[in-house]
C-alpha cells in the first residue's frame, strides 16, 4: 500500500461517511504497531466506533489495546470534552454564586458552540502537546465526517488570523485573554498540518461518483489550507473475477470502473491504493489484519442460496400515504443513502397522486436535477448550507446591523463568521420548509449525524425560547420541535445498511433521538445484497452476513422496517427510484 510507505508522524483519514474510514484507520494503526512502532489511534467522530471495532471501551482517555502491543487509542467525545470544559468553568463558583445563577451558566454552556470548542481544544493539543505526542511514533486520526473535519482544520488558521488582527471580542471563542494563551498552540497546529514531513492526509472514497466528487472537494479545500501531502484510497472495489459470475456483480463492477474512469483530474494526480471488497464484515482484529493485504482470500464458492423476506418500501409508503400529509424525515449516518431513499419515498407518494415536496440539505445531492419537473405532484428544492448562511448573514447585517457605522458593521460581519452561524441558518431554512407539512407531504433528508443533532439542539433551544415568550402571552403555538415529536405530523425513517457498524450506529442515533423525545417510526435497510439475490460467491457471502443484521433490526431495533435491494443500475431518475420501493422478489 503506497499510503503506508514512509508514513509520517500524523496520518489523517477522511472521507464521506460509510466509505470505511474507521476500518482503514484501524487497520493502518494495527499494521504500524505490528511493524514495531508505538501508535496512538484517535477518533474525533462524535459517534466514534473505534472501541467497538476492537471490542474494548475507550472513551476520552488514552487506552491501551491489549490485543495489539504498542497500540493505544483515544476517542475524543465532544460531549464528554464539553462536560469537562463546563466543570472547569463552573466548578470554582459553585457555592460562591447563587444556585440559580450556576444553573443558568451550565445551561448556556450546553450549546453546540461549547461542544465544538471543547473538542477542538483537545484536537489541537494532540497536534502540539509534545508531552503526549513524543511517546508515539505515529498518531493516526480517524476523523469525523468531512464537513466537520474541514472546519476543525480550518479553525486554527482562522483563529490565529483573527487574533493577530486583534479584531472584536473573539465572541464565540471565549474570552480573548484565555485565547491569547492558546495562540501558540493554534499556530503550532497549523504548522504541523502544513508540514509534509509530519502530516499525511489520506482521502478514503468508494468507487462512486458522489464519494469521489466529495473526495475531490476535500482535497481542494485542505490543500488550500496547507495540507498538501495527500493520498487516495478507493475502498471496497468489487474484484474483476466476480463480475463474470453474475449479472448484479457485473453491473456493480462496470459501475465502479466507470466511476473511477470519470474521477476528477485532481484525484488522478494523487498516489492511489485500491482496497478490494471483502466477503466478511470488518469487525475484530482478524478481519482488520486482512483488510490491507493485497490478495484477498477466496470466499467459499459453495454457499447456500440466500433468501431475504422483508417488507418493501412500498409497504411503508402505504402507511405514510394514509395520513394525507405530513413530514417524512430520512435520518442516519452519512453514506447510507438517505438522499436516494428520500427521493424514492417522494416519487412513490407522488405516483399515488399525492402532493409532495422533496428537499435535501446534502451539499452533494444532485437528485434534484434528475427529478426536477419530471413528475406530476412532485416539487423539489435544496437547502444549500452556504447559500443559507450567506442569506442569514445578509439578513442580520440588514436588520440588526442597519444602524451601525462602518466599523460596527465590520465587527458584526466578523462575528457572523462564527462556526455556529451555519447551523442556525440551516435550522431556519429547515423550519420554513416543515411548516408546509400541514397540507402536503414534505420529504427531507438530513445531513450526517453530528449535524442533525446540532440541528435538533437548535430546534430545542428555539422551542424553549418561543415557549417562554408565548406562555407569557397565553398564545397558541407549535414549534418545529413539537412537530418533530408528534408522530401524527412527523415520521422519522432511519436508513441503515445491513452491516454490523451501520446498524449499531443507527441504534445509537435512535437512542439520541429518543432522548430528544422523538420516536423513530421505521427503519429502512438500504442497498441490501440479500434482497437482490446474488449468485457471485463473494456477494452471496455478504448476503448471508446481512441476514444476521436484518434480523437484529427487525427484532431489536425497529418498530417496523423495510428492505431495499441493491440495484444493478445506480438509482437515479424516477423510473429507477420507483424500483427501489417495489416488493422484494420471492426467492426462487
Amino acid at each position: 500500500m503506497k499510503f503506508l510507505e514512509g508514513a509520517p508522524r500524523f496520518l489523517f483519514f477522511t472521507g464521506k461517511g460509510g466509505v470505511g474510514k474507521t476500518s482503514i484507520a484501524c487497520a493502518t494503526a494495527i499494521q504500524l504497531a505490528e511493524a514495531g512502532r508505538r501508535v496512538l489511534l484517535v477518533s474525533t467522530d462524535p459517534a466514534s466506533n473505534v472501541g467497538q471495532v476492537f471490542g474494548v471501551s475507550i472513551g476520552n482517555k488514552i487506552t491501551s489495546i491489549s490485543d495489539v502491543s504498542r497500540l493505544f487509542a483515544l476517542e475524543i467525545d465532544p460531549e464528554a470534552a464539553a462536560q469537562a470544559y463546563r466543570d472547569r468553568i463552573v466548578g470554582p463558583v459553585r457555592g460562591q454564586l447563587p444556585e440559580a445563577v450556576v444553573k443558568g451558566i451550565e445551561e448556556q454552556l450546553s450549546g453546540a458552540c461549547t461542544t465544538e470548542i471543547a473538542a477542538f481544544d483537545e484536537f489541537t493539543a494532540l497536534l502540539t502537546d509534545t508531552e503526549i505526542t513524543s511517546s508515539y511514533d505515529h498518531i493516526v486520526f480517524d476523523t469525523a465526517p468531512t464537513g466537520h473535519t474541514i472546519r476543525l482544520l480550518q479553525l486554527p488558521v482562522a483563529w490565529s488570523g483573527f487574533l493577530e488582527a486583534g479584531k472584536g471580542d473573539a465572541s464565540c471563542l471565549g474570552p480573548l485573554a484565555g485565547l491569547e494563551k492558546q495562540r501558540t498552540q493554534y499556530s503550532a497546529a497549523v504548522q504541523a498540518l502544513a508540514d509534509g514531513q509530519r502530516t499525511r492526509l489520506v482521502l478514503v472514497a468508494r468507487a462512486q461518483n458522489s464519494a469521489l466528487r466529495e473526495a475531490a472537494r476535500t482535497h481542494g479545500e485542505l490543500a488550500a489550507i496547507g495540507l498538501t501531502q495527500q493520498f487516495l484510497i478507493v475502498n471496497g472495489l468489487l474484484p474483476e473475477e466476480e463480475a463474470a459470475l453474475d449479472p448484479l456483480a457485473k453491473a456493480i463492477y462496470g459501475r465502479e470502473q466507470a466511476a473511477l474512469a470519470a474521477m476528477p483530474d485532481e484525484l488522478h494526480a494523487l498516489p492511489r491504493d485500491d482496497v478490494p471488497l471483502k466477503p466478511f464484515n470488518l469487525v475484530g482484529l482478524d478481519a482488520l489484519r486482512q483488510l490491507l493485504v493485497e490478495t484477498a482470500p477466496q470466499p467459499d464458492a459453495a454457499g447456500e442460496p440466500v433468501a431475504l423476506r422483508a417488507p418493501s418500501l412500498s409497504d411503508l409508503v402505504d402507511d405514510i400515504a394514509a395520513d394525507g400529509h405530513g413530514l417524512v424525515m430520512l435520518m442516519g449516518k452519512g453514506g447510507v443513502g438517505k438522499t436516494t431513499l428520500a427521493a424514492a419515498v417522494a416519487v412513490e407518494l407522488a405516483r399515488r397522486g399525492l402532493p409532495v415536496h422533496l428537499t435535501t440539505s446534502d451539499p452533494a445531492a444532485h437528485l434534484t436535477e434528475t427529478l426536477h419537473g419530471s413528475m406530476a405532484h412532485l416539487t423539489v428544492s435544496r437547502i444549500d448550507p452556504h447559500a443559507e448562511t450567506e442569506r442569514y448573514r445578509q439578513e442580520v447585517l440588514r436588520t440588526k446591523g442597519a444602524k451601525l457605522d462602518a466599523q460596527g458593521r465590520a465587527l458584526l460581519e466578523e462575528d457572523l463568521r462564527s462556526p455556529c452561524t451555519e447551523e442556525i441558518a440551516v435550522f431556519q431554512a429547515f423550519s420554513r420548509i416543515i411548516r408546509e407539512a400541514g397540507e402536503k407531504f414534505v420529504v427531507m433528508d438530513t445531513a450526517p449525524t453530528g449535524h442533525t443533532l446540532l440541528l435538533l439542539d437548535a430546534t430545542g433551544a428555539y422551542h424553549r425560547e418561543v415557549a417562554r415568550m408565548l406562555d407569557a402571552k397565553g398564545g397558541h403555538y407549535t414549534t418545529p420541535m413539537m412537530q418533530l415529536q408528534d408522530s401524527k405530523r412527523t415520521k422519522v425513517l432511519f436508513v441503515s445498511l445491513a452491516e454490523t457498524t451501520p446498524v449499531l450506529e443507527a441504534a445509537n442515533l435512535q437512542a439520541d433521538l429518543r432522548r430528544a423525545g422523538i420516536e423513530p417510526w421505521a427503519w429502512v435497510i438500504n442497498n441490501s445484497v440479500a434482497a437482490a439475490r446474488p449468485r457471485s460467491p463473494l456477494l452471496r457471502k455478504r448476503a448471508q452476513n446481512e441476514l444476521v443484521e436484518v434480523e437484529k433490526v427487525a427484532r431489536l431495533h425497529a418498530r417496523r422496517y423495510a428492505a431495499v435491494p441493491l440495484l444493478e443500475e445506480e438509482p437515479v431518475g424516477v423510473e429507477r427510484l420507483l424500483k427501489l420501493a417495489a416488493p422484494l422478489r420471492e426467492p426462487a
Partner: protein
Amino acid sequence: MTTIHVFDPALCCSSGVCGVDTDQALVTFAADVDWAKKNGAQIERFNLAQQPMAFADNVTVKGFLERSGQEALPLILVNGDIALAGRYPNRAELARWAGVKEAAEAQQGSCCGGKTSCC
C-alpha cells in the same frame, strides 16, 4: 482614567450572533464598546457563562447577583460603583462616563460628509 466594567448575562458570544435570534441590543452595544475603546475608553466585558469567577470575586457584583438574580444583568460598574443595571448603556452614556467626546460625529457635521451612503 475611568474604568468601565460590564458584567454580561450568560451569553454564547458577546455580540449575540450565536443565538437562535440575534439580539439587537447586543449587536449595537458590541459596536458601541468597540467605538468607545477606539476613542480611548477603558472598557472590559465579563461574560457570566465564560468568566463566572469575575462575578464571584467582585463583592459588589456578587451582592447584586444575590439580591436581584441573573435576570437583572447586565450590570455596569464605573470605577467600581454601580452605574447602570438591567440594560446596556448607549453610546452617549459610555462617552460621558469615559470622558470621551463624541468627536467623530461632532466634527463630521452632516452624515453625508463621509464616503458612506447612509443618506
